[in-house]
């Protein structure tokens, strides 16, 4: 799928699962390529078919399968909402930042760490409602980003006045308390 000759950013990658961000303008090309190359198009578990609502013009995800490998394609970086079964795109500033630069690892293009950090924090709080150990390890590995102005600016577009509190809790390693703390936040 990476050979489809379209611009992409890998979000996560393992032997049997790829999650990537592509541009919406390339959606038709991707589907055409998938068809020609024998990929199976599968209904994504998070889809309108399965009762989810995609807000603010978020394009539905595509899920492809070939030889037991799943390829999940987003067209904007998504975030779950606290509103049940409601998915929205992250702020436009974050979407733009995802495409402005990329990080190369083994000749594959990934999100820059600043954007990936925002995506991971949003996923941990709104989708998982907890911080899994793999996520905590990654966040700690890239903890230098937490003081980056560009990153903080993007994070504030998701967490608003909770941003500083969130950064404090992360730096204090209080990951287990974050979700409940967020729900109870009232300083706004």
């Amino acid at each position: 799928m990476i050979n489809a000759n379209v611009e992409y950013r890998l979000i996560s990658y393992s032997d049997y699962n790829y999650t990537m961000l592509c541009k919406e303008e390339n959606k038709a090309d991707i589907l055409e390529y998938a068809k020609l190359q024998g990929y199976q198009i599968i209904t994504h578990p998070i889809s309108t078919h399965n009762g989810y609502h995609f807000g603010y013009n978020l394009t539905e995800f595509i899920l492809l399968k070939k030889q037991q490998v799943l390829y999940e394609i987003f067209f904007q970086l998504p975030s779950f909402s606290l509103t049940d079964r409601y998915i929205i795109p992250l702020d436009k500033i974050i979407q733009n930042a995802a495409w402005t630069k990329c990080r190369f690892i083994e000749e594959k293009k990934y999100l820059i760490p600043e954007v990936e950090m925002v995506y991971r924090l949003a996923s941990a709080i709104f989708r998982d409602k907890t911080f899994k150990s793999a996520n905590v390890d990654w966040i700690n590995e890239y903890s230098y980003i937490l003081n980056n102005d560009e990153f903080v600016d993007m994070l504030s577009k998701v967490f608003f006045k909770y941003t500083n509190r969130l950064l404090f809790l992360i730096k204090e390693q209080q990951f287990l308390n974050i979700f409940e703390d967020y729900l109870g936040f009232s300083q706004y």
Binding site: G55, Y56, S79, F80, S81, L82, T83, I88, P89, L90, D91, K92, A122, I125, F126, K157, V158, F159, F160, K161, Y162, T163, Y182, L183, F185, S186, Q187, Y188
Partner: protein
């Protein structure tokens, strides 16, 4: 772009306007009225709600009325009718004389309601629809259990928080669970209740609900009155299948179009019908009494006339 941390706090249609309230965590509270949006900080929203409480108190022209002393869920239920309150009296009443709106929306006697039956162990309360007035994470069972434990420990609070009823039929509008627990623990005792009276030109709340407690289920009924109340009763019956409507009559039958499969007929046909009860679905008490006289003059047994 929207805040992912959005929790819908409330949603209601008020006089044909869509009104809803969102908490956008970290950002602000949004009050939406159709295409308008009002943003509040937490503090300003608290001030706003305090001011609204003052408005409610001012709508009721009773000296010692204070909505802060009422259960907020009950205030919400009563809100469309608050301005019609004329007096609130404390009166004594036997529990068996109280009625409730059962889970299917039909008015039935307290002693036959689902909460009493659940306490007696004859039904599982969680099989009934979860009450919209339950708190978050509160089930019907936990609400009833907590109420029972509270009553066992504290007894019946006879101050401002006593059971509240409305109308000729003593419809409980606040205190169903307490009344059920008290009946379960003590039987048919007499106790003080708060009774709300409405201004004369307002049709009492209990009149909007089919009086199921007055007739056995599966009775054959004739509805007298095809106006607002008659149509409400009909819709409740249709939704619940509590009884069977065998005919529908109205004095103005000539000018009323058929409703569903029912042609609205001349009341004079009533003696020709096979029925168990005639339900007078009219709000105005004077007219209701006149209809009652009319029916008895037609030869209808007054025991079969539900007024």
């Amino acid at each position: 772009m929207s805040n992912p941390g959005v929790i819908k706090l409330a949603s209601e249609k008020i006089y044909n306007h869509n009104v809803w309230l969102d908490d956008n965590i970290g950002e602000s509270i949004h009050l939406h009225i159709d295409d308008w949006r009002f943003d509040f900080s937490i503090n300003s929203f608290e001030i706003f709600t305090r001011e609204l409480t003052n408005v409610i108190n001012n709508l009721v022209s009773l000296e010692d009325f204070d909505v802060n002393k009422w259960d907020i869920r009950f205030v919400h239920q009563l809100s469309p009718y608050i301005k019609y309150i004329s007096k609130i009296n404390k009166e004594e009443c036997y529990l068996s004389k109280l009625n409730v709106l059962n889970d299917n929306g039909i008015m039935i006697n307290l002693t036959e309601c689902s909460r009493v039956k659940a306490l007696q162990g004859t039904i599982n309360i969680n099989d009934t629809k979860n009450r919209a007035s339950n708190w978050i994470n509160e089930t019907n069972e936990s609400r009833l259990t907590n109420c029972l434990e509270y009553i066992k420990e504290h007894g019946y609070e006879m101050s401002d928080n006593c059971i509240t009823v409305v109308g000729r039929n003593n419809l409980i509008i606040d205190g169903w669970h307490r009344a059920s627990c008290l009946y379960y623990l003590n039987g048919d005792i007499k106790l003080p209740v708060k009774k709300i009276y409405f201004k004369e030109d307002f049709v009492p709340l209990d009149e909007f609900h089919f009086p199921g407690f007055k007739i056995p289920q599966n009775s054959k009924v004739i509805l007298y009155g095809a106006g607002k109340i008659g149509q409400m009763y009909y819709n409740q019956i249709k939704k619940t299948n509590y009884c069977k409507v065998v005919a529908w009559v109205d004095a103005c039958y000539n000018s009323i179009k058929p409703i569903d499969d029912y042609s609205i007929e001349d009341p004079k046909v009533i003696p020709t019908k096979d029925f168990d009860y005639v339900i007078i679905a009219i709000g105005n008490m004077i007219i209701k009494n006149k209809v009652h006289s009319f029916l008895t003059n037609l030869g209808i047994n007054s025991k079969t006339i539900i007024i």
